[in-house]
């Protein structure tokens, strides 16, 4: 972390325990982590190490038991459910492994929706959505339903939706996990271009090749960070996207 630059995300002493049938599961055991604006960080680790729990806490989808989570200066660990929902509108774009698109909406509506939830009128929200779909190569799909798209196209649509509100932080949860290798590469290239354009991205993955797209890799074990490693293969320069 360079000195003088405020972290966009800070987690300090974060603990989270889930109640399981037989015994409580300590998913996070005093996690400390921070990200600078514009960073692309990949979180890796074995199943059950707590990386998905970490992502959920940053997104405000779950609450911490102990510790602090600060996103863009806002103490999200102390927020109510509705405050977290409003925080997500402003600061968070989520890309899920299985896309989680709204199947009853057209491609355009899926992308326009987050902006409308944030209070934008339909027309400007659709204008922004069209711009994003154009940039992500889905301009000719605006009136189609997500069900007719390929896996790669669906994930690109999910990324467009995640970018609709110009979020402070994009969270990606195994974004290539449901795609074939070609589709996965397509999505990673897209993330690299977003990153080049200054988008802060926090990605969780099992896959070393996918993590290599990030400029910092952190590994988790037993609910804590194991260490950080530099990206082995820096991505090629790409044209500005957003």
């Amino acid at each position: 972390m360079s000195e003088g630059t405020a972290a966009v995300l800070g987690m300090q002493g974060v603990r989270k325990t889930f109640e399981a049938d037989n015994a409580p599961v300590r998913a996070l055991r005093g996690l400390d982590f921070s990200m600078l604006p514009g960073e692309f960080v990949a979180v890796m680790g074995p199943s059950g190490c707590g990386k998905s729990t970490m992502l959920n806490l940053v997104a405000g989808l779950d609450s911490v038991d102990e510790g602090e989570v600060v996103l863009d200066g806002e103490r999200i660990h102390a927020m109510s459910e509705d405050e977290l929902a409003r925080m997500r509108r402003r600061h968070i774009g989520i890309v899920f492994q299985f896309f989680n698109l709204l199947e009853g909406m057209t491609v355009l509506e899926n992308v326009a929706l987050p902006a409308m939830i944030s209070g934008l009128k339909r027309k400007p929200a659709e204008t922004r959505a069209r711009d994003l779909l154009d940039l992500l190569g889905l301009a000719d799909k605006t009136n189609q339903m997500p069900g007719v798209l390929s896996g790669g196209q669906r994930q690109r649509l999910a990324i467009a939706r995640a970018l609709a509100n110009r979020p402070t932080l994009v969270l990606a949860d195994e974004p290539t996990g449901a795609l074939d290798s070609e589709g996965g590469q397509e999505i990673l290239e897209l993330f690299r271009r977003l990153h080049t354009d200054g988008q802060t991205i926090l990605m969780v993955t099992h896959d070393d090749d996918v993590a290599a797209a990030a400029d910092r890799i952190v590994r988790m074990k037993d609910g804590r960070l194991e260490g950080a490693a530099p990206s082995p293969v820096p991505g090629p320069p790409a044209p500005a996207l957003v």
Binding site: N56, L61, R88, F96, G104, P114, I117
Partner: protein
């Protein structure tokens, strides 16, 4: 509101057919029942008036009082005089005054009030009474009114249960969508509003489409019944009851949406990771 409207439209695109079909069925069944019940009441009531007048005239004939002005009181015991111009063959002389009170059901209860009402209009002594009774088949139909109304109420209750069940099932199907919406920043109350609007819209469409169809079908059924009995149909539409169905249906639909809406709004968006 724009976002809720957009989501509502998408929900109606994907999840509305079972709900809409059920609600439509309920509206139609309720209307059929209502129209049949109203038809039964109106026909029985008409017969009472007819019977009162006829028996009054018959009494006048039996008493050898041609030209009597017979007045009947009918209509389920209400002390309401029905002036009957009983001037058929053999009743040609108008100078004899006579009043006959005929009341199918209200004889014992309302005779005094009926007498007073008649006496006020016609300054005469009451000279004869008769006790008209509905013919058996009509009396049976009249008695079925309670059954028909009970049937309608049962339809309404069963329909409400079915719609409630459909909403809960739809809510389960919409569980993932609700999680997505929460992840995108929907507030809990917006999720609840989505369910309420979904339910209310389905009910509104069902009422608008179902009521006219139901009333028409009910009228058709009733016309067929009275035709078989050789009666003259006396059509009526229970306007007040039908007018109440709209707001009542909306209120029930919104009320029923509360449970699945509440369940969905409490769902943690983290459920999306498991799907």
């Amino acid at each position: 509101m724009g976002a809720v409207r957009l989501v509502l439209r998408s929900q109606l695109r994907t999840h509305h057919w079972p709900l809409l079909g059920l609600t439509l069925l309920v509206a139609m069944a309720g209307s059929v029942t209502l129209a049949a019940a109203a038809g039964a009441r109106r026909t029985a009531s008409s017969f009472e008036r007819f019977a009162a007048a006829t028996l009054a005239r018959d009494a006048a004939i039996q008493l050898d009082l041609p030209g009597a002005v017979a007045t009947g009181v009918g209509g389920r015991g209400r002390p309401r005089p029905y002036p009957v111009p009983a001037r058929g063959p053999g009743l040609a002389e108008p100078d004899l005054d006579m009043a006959v009170i005929a009341s199918p059901d209200g004889w014992g209860r309302d005779i005094d009030r009926g007498q007073q009402a008649l006496a006020a209009d016609h300054p005469i002594d009451l000279s004869s009474y008769s006790h008209p009774r509905l013919p058996g088949n009509l009396a049976n139909i009249d008695r079925t009114r309670g059954i028909v109304v009970s049937l309608g109420a049962s339809f309404a209750v069963l329909g409400a249960i079915a719609v409630g069940h459909a909403l809960v099932v739809a809510g389960r199907r919409q569980r993932r969508d609700a999680g997505v919406l929460r992840a995108l920043g929907f507030l809990r109350r917006q999720v609840r509003a989505m369910f309420a609007w979904h339910s209310a819209t389905a009910a509104a469409v069902a009422v608008v489409a179902g009521l006219p169809i139901g009333v028409a079908a009910g009228r058709w059924v009733w016309r067929a019944i009275v035709g078989d009995l050789g009666l003259i149909d006396d059509p009526t539409v229970p306007a007040v009851a039908l007018a109440a169905i709209g707001p009542l249906s909306l209120a029930v639909a919104v009320g029923l949406s509360w449970i699945p809406g509440r369940q969905a709004s409490r769902l943690s968006p983290s459920v999306l990771r498991a799907e």
